[in-house]
Each structure stands twice: as structure tokens, then as C-alpha cells.
């Protein structure tokens, strides 16, 4: 089974801090994604990557950046955390969308 591991389940950070959310997958998938989930707003795509060192903006990239130096690892970076970035962050990977995505368990980030 494909496994997508997010390094932290819960995280509390202060406003203005630089925050790194890490995601690792173990099935050699080309594509990796970062979503955030908020009540009433569903899953919104922040950034995605279809290859090492490649990245594409999703629907809500503002305030975020990403890094994909190795195929198995996709990092989400909050350059200067703000309270409106308090959310559940979900990482996913896939070979292609026809196979569906495999999601990690999520990181609940609270910015105070």
C-alpha cells in the first residue's frame, strides 16, 4: 500500500514564524499535492508538483511556497505564518488522477 506520511499531526506556531510542513511518500509517485481543508470550503489546492524541482500554483498559493528536491518529499513552506493560515493541511501523491490520490493523515496547524 502507498503510504504518505506527514511529519506532524498537530502544530502550533506564532504569527510571523516561518513554518515547514513535510510530506514523504514511498511509492515513487510522480505527482504530489498540498491542500488545505477548512469548514464550509472543502479541499483547496495550494501547490502541486509533477516532477522533482517542478512546481505549479494551485488555487490559493498566496502566502505559501513549496520545495521538491527529491521525488519522495514535498515540503510546504509558510514564509510568515498568519492566523488565517490556521487550517488542516493535507498532502497527497498519485501516479495519475485515474488512480486516485493517496492522502496523508493531515497536519492541524494553529497560528496564534
Amino acid at each position: 500500500d502507498v503510504k504518505v506520511t506527514q511529519s506532524s499531526r498537530y502544530l502550533v506556531k506564532r504569527t510571523g514564524e516561518k513554518v515547514f510542513l513535510e510530506c514523504v511518500q514511498d511509492m515513487d509517485h510522480e505527482n504530489m499535492f498540498w491542500y488545505r481543508q477548512d469548514p464550509g470550503l472543502g479541499l483547496r489546492l495550494i501547490y502541486f508538483s509533477y516532477d522533482v524541482k517542478m512546481k505549479e500554483k494551485g488555487d490559493i498559493p498566496e502566502g505559501y511556497s513549496v520545495s521538491r528536491e527529491k521525488k519522495e518529499r514535498f515540503s510546504l513552506i509558510l514564509e510568515s505564518a498568519s492566523t488565517n493560515q490556521t487550517s488542516m493541511y493535507l498532502c497527497a501523491s498519485s501516479l495519475n488522477s485515474l488512480d486516485g490520490y493517496t492522502f496523508g493523515s493531515g497536519t492541524r496547524l494553529t497560528v496564534v
Binding site: 491542500y35 509533477y50 494551485g58 488522477s97 493517496t102
Partner: protein
């Protein structure tokens, strides 16, 4: 503009009855659709999918119906069980410029009462 819409934020059904979750989409170029199920504090898990060349796909208690002309799909769960209580997301495959990603609806919270 929301391309995948789940207009019912919540649905409550009795155990043993049918649950019907609905999803509408606006982009006629979408040709592959998926349903995901999410429990609290867990990531979404893939449930069932359907290609636009079909109008029905069945997997055990779960059936997805696709009406391309109406740009509408639905997920039927029969019979519903308390363990089905979760948030269900509808998603469509969006291929643009050689890259492929899923567009999700806002989700419907299903509660199955014993």
C-alpha cells in the same frame, strides 16, 4: 468560480436506508470523477470513481451514477451503516497544459443514525 459543487452541506439518514449524495460540475471537459470519504482527523480515502464513457459504476454497497448531459453525478450507499458517517467529497479530474489535478467539491457530511 466553483467548478465542482456539492450543494448539500449535510445529510442525515437512518441505518439500513439509502443515502444519496449529489454533485454537479460546470466544466464539460471533465471526463473522470471520483468520490472520497473523510473521517475526522484523517486524510480522505478513495471510495469509487467513474469515467465519462460510463453512466454507472458499482462497488459493493456503493454506486456512482453519471449524467453527462446534466453535468451531474450521485453516490448511492445501500444499505447505509453507522460506519458510513463521514464527510464525502466529490472530485473531477482537470487536465490543463499537460498537468493533471483533482478539483474537489466542498463536501457533504453524512450522518447515519442507528
Amino acid at each position: 468560480d466553483q467548478q465542482v459543487k456539492q450543494n448539500s452541506p449535510s445529510l442525515s439518514v437512518q441505518e439500513g436506508r439509502i443515502s444519496i449524495l449529489n454533485c454537479d460540475y460546470t466544466n464539460s471537459m471533465f471526463d473522470y470523477f471520483l468520490w472520497y470519504k473523510k473521517y475526522p482527523a484523517e486524510g480522505p480515502t478513495f471510495l469509487i470513481s467513474i469515467s465519462s464513457i460510463k453512466d454507472k459504476n458499482e462497488d459493493g454497497r456503493f454506486t456512482v451514477f453519471l449524467n453527462k448531459s446534466a453535468k451531474h453525478l450521485s453516490l448511492h450507499i445501500v444499505p447505509s451503516q453507522p460506519g458510513d458517517s463521514a464527510v464525502y467529497f466529490c472530485a473531477a479530474s482537470d487536465v490543463q497544459g499537460g498537468s493533471e489535478k483533482l478539483v474537489f467539491g466542498k463536501g457533504t457530511k453524512l450522518t447515519v443514525n442507528p
